[in-house]
């Protein structure tokens, strides 16, 4: 079968097209494109079917697991696909690792090293117990996230654009330093003993629950990874669609109850807003997918992310 690969402006990406066997899959086509262009490895490629010029509808994206035949019009022995370069890609593991490595390293620097001298605080620093607990709590949190990245998470997309690494690192690293600066500050004012204990205990409980949520999500995605959506079940997922975000947010609430910094609460609000957007999208998608019609299960009534509010 003959495949012509063109760019969105109609220019030929692979000169002379590509000849493939009739049983070839989309993945085979991607490999062939990679071989011919050298530069565009499969994860960088986005292949779509051409759309009528001027039409507003979204083009069909070719699924690499499917056979190329499925996209051909009947009995046709040639097909034209539109190629788009997605830019350099990195795996989600790499992205997450660098995101979380920043806070994990930066936070203890504020705790252990005399950084505050550079901000004009010359006096000897007295460390409150809450600052020590907070440092361990923080490091445990990001260590857990890195471990989960490598050993628990299954990603629905293999790669992410390289530019996201810079954007996400800027977000995590600067917020991490901003909070670390205040919690470890020589003029830090601790909260009462009881409040601190309640905060850390609640936070730890949420972290453990968060870990369990991630285990449940892992079980939801089969190792073959067909990428299909399923109704999350079990534990907190029986009440909330995105229990993983719920526990993550409440875990930061615990940290903030114990440490009480303005910076920490700013981060909490920003993180909660971002995760709420994701959660709303996922909730809508699941509700639409599982509408209870034609034998499909009906998505049960659940909170989206923040019980008892949303």
């Amino acid at each position: 079968m003959k495949v012509s690969v063109v760019s969105r402006s109609g220019r030929e990406v692979v000169k002379g097209g590509i000849q493939l066997s009739d049983s070839a899959s989309v993945a085979d086509l991607q490999d062939a494109i990679h071989k011919r262009t050298k530069k565009f490895y499969p994860a960088r490629q986005r292949l779509t079917l051409p759309v009528q010029p001027g039409s507003k509808e979204r083009p069909t994206v070719l699924n690499s697991k499917k056979s190329l035949r499925e996209y051909c019009s009947d009995n046709s022995d040639s097909i034209t696909v539109v190629f788009k370069d997605l830019g350099p890609q990195v795996s989600y593991r790499t992205l997450f690792f660098f995101e979380y490595l920043g806070p994990l390293i930066l936070y203890p620097i504020f705790y252990y090293f005399p950084v505050y001298q550079f901000f004009g605080y010359k006096a000897e620093r007295v460390i409150h117990p809450v600052q020590t607990y907070a440092m361990y709590y923080w490091c445990f949190h990001y260590f857990k996230r890195i471990m989960e990245t490598f050993f628990v998470h299954r990603f629905s997309h293999a790669t992410s654009p390289l530019s996201n690494v810079f954007r996400n690192c800027a977000y995590y690293w600067s917020f991490g330093s901003y909070i670390a600066y205040y919690v470890n500050h020589p003029l830090y004012t601790p909260v009462g003993d009881l409040q601190m204990k309640i905060g850390f205990a609640f936070g730890l409980l949420c972290q453990v629950s968060n870990f369990y949520c991630h285990i449940l999500l892992r079980k939801l995605r089969s190792p073959e990874g067909n990428g299909g959506y399923q109704i999350p079940k079990g534990f907190l997922f029986n009440i909330v669609t995105c229990a993983n975000y719920t526990t993550e947010i409440y875990q930061w609430v615990g940290f903030n109850i114990a440490t009480q910094t303005f910076a920490g609460y700013v981060f909490l609000v920003v993180a909660a807003l971002i995760m709420t957007n994701w959660a709303l999208a996922k909730h809508r998608r699941l509700k639409k997918l599982f509408d209870g019609k034609e034998g499909r299960p009906k998505y049960p009534r659940r909170w989206v992310i923040l019980p008892p509010f949303l």
Partner: protein, 221 residues
């Protein structure tokens, strides 16, 4: 009804643009007059009121974009007007120590010429429905130079005010306090300077795109 509203919109924008046009003409006139009579040290005092009035009124432009009265995107007007307001109030008004510097003169001249041309351009368009091609050309060409002098003056003045921010501790809130919160105007200014670094080339290239769009369009007509 729709016709009435569009007339009202046009009337309002006409009034707005010409008011600000005269505001900036005043700034420019007072600046030049003072420069001739007594030198650059006194330029600020001569232009303070009309400068503050005209620059602050530009906040309405952000609102115009938000409610859809004009087409310019908020992402373009907000940083431009925000940085100008910061220099007007946060630097010049708050730190009188920098007012007699020569950069105030270059700042005021760059801002006022740009704005006189810009408001004349929009004023003409709202009032008569068109702008003379010379005005279009000026609107999309003078920035090539005036953006550079204007932004350099802004950066220079923020930099000059830094030691006075540190020394006075003005607008700063310090630890210790219950919420472990602090705000340091000095570091905030350094952050602003850091944003100028990628921000100014970005705005400049945005204007270059606008320029090629506008000038190719006016050629066709």
């Amino acid at each position: 009804m729709a016709g009435f509203l569009s007339t009202l919109r046009r009337l309002y924008l006409t009034l707005y643009n010409w008011t600000l046009f005269f505001g900036w003409v005043q700034v420019f006139y007072f600046c030049i007059k003072q420069l001739k009579e007594s030198g650059h040290q006194h330029v600020y005092n001569a232009v303070e009121r009309p400068l503050q009035f005209s620059q602050t009124a530009a906040v309405l432009e952000i609102l115009h974009g938000l409610v859809g009265l004009v087409r310019s995107p908020v992402s373009a007007t907000l940083p431009q007007i925000g940085s100008r307001l910061y220099v007007t109030w946060g630097i010049l008004w708050s730190f009188p120590e920098v007012r007699n510097h020569i950069l105030v003169t270059s700042l005021v001249i760059s801002w006022s010429i740009t704005e006189i041309i810009r408001y004349a351009f929009y004023g003409m368009k709202e009032t008569f429905g068109f702008a003379p091609s010379l005005l279009i050309w000026l609107r999309y060409s003078t920035f090539l130079l005036l953006y550079v002098t204007g932004i350099s003056s802004e950066i220079g003045l923020i930099y000059l005010a830094l030691p006075y921010m540190k020394e006075s501790g003005k607008y700063s809130y310090r630890m210790p306090n219950k919420w472990n919160f602090s705000f340091d105007y000095f570091y905030a200014a350094i952050l602003v300077l850091a944003i100028y670094a990628p921000g100014s080339p970005h705005m400049y290239s945005y204007m270059l795109v606008q320029r090629s769009k506008a000038l190719s369009k006016s050629k066709k007509e």
